[in-house]
Amino acid sequence: MDERRESEAAPTKNHTTVERRSERELVVTRTVNGPARLVFEAWTKADLFRRWWVPRSYGLTLLSCEMDVRVGGGYRLVFSHQDSTMEFFGTYLDVTPHSRLVWTNEEGDGGMTVTTVTFDDIAGRTLVAVHDLYPSKEALDAASGSTGAMPEALDQLDELLVSLGSTTTE
């Protein structure tokens, strides 16, 4: 399962941004150098999906990856981490080829998170936006692993980060 030959043709990496858009929403955006048709394929075919979803540096092994990509179809990912296993599962709510995918994340406590991924083909490159809507602010904080001790007043920090990022890195 080792089909990597990184040394050849390493195309320049595009920048990934994360924005906390509200108390319950997190949005990740990234441009991928390829048409939406192919990017969508990589998100919807299990054998392709499993090649990129779990970064190798995270010490996780993907034991199984089942994806029934159609409205009402389910998915289930099973990972092993050291001695334990973790499962992620849910249902696809929308499957619009090459442009939109929506699924639920049902493994968490206290309600489900809904993930919406949009694919915008712009002249052969694809702007991917991953939008997570958490059931509550607490669920987002828990997912983020933040202590929850921070004042509510800082919830809009994402905007600040985005503005700082755009002034300092570009």
Binding site: E3, R4, E6, A9, P11, K13, N14, T16, T17, V18, R20, E23, L26, V28, R30, V32, N33, G34, L38, V39, E41, A42, L48, R51, W52, W53, V54, P55, S57, Y58, V128, V130, S144, G145, S146, T147, A149, M150, P151, E152, A153, L154, D155, Q156, L157, D158, E159, L160, L161, S163, L164, T167, T168
Partner: protein, 121 residues
């Protein structure tokens, strides 16, 4: 309680909606500064800058301390760093994922162009 949270949320939202105030936060991210220094930096009157700092202070984004006649401003709270850190961790996860996705898409593209050539033959 919920309303209090909401009210506070609105306050911080308002605080960050202004370009000067975002600039002030950025400036304070580099170093603490007096209101006088900030006013000069942003070409404003002392009173104007005080108003902005008040808004940021109410939102919990900035704290001020008066020593003698100088009021020094610094970035709010540790929570700010915590949130920045987890957002950065989350960004790194996605960045790593997308870097792998690049390779998958690159392979698909290559395969497609090879297949295309075969078909034309």
């Amino acid at each position: 309680m919920v309303q209090w949270v909401q009210a506070n949320f609105d306050v911080s939202f308002g605080a960050l909606s202004d370009a000067t105030r975002r600039g002030v936060l950025e400036q304070l991210g580099r170093a603490d500064a007096s209101i006088t220094a900030l006013a000069q930096r942003f070409h404003m009157t002392l009173t104007g800058m005080k108003k902005h700092v008040d808004v940021l202070e109410q939102a919990g984004l900035v704290t001020t301390e008066k020593v003698g006649r100088v009021r020094t401003c610094r970035l709010g709270l540790r929570g700010l760093q915590e949130e920045a850190e987890w957002i950065e961790r989350y960004r790194q996860l996605w960045s790593a994922r997308f870097d792998e996705l690049d390779k998958v898409v690159e392979n698909l593209k290559r395969k497609e162009s090879v297949d295309g050539r075969k078909k034309r033959k």
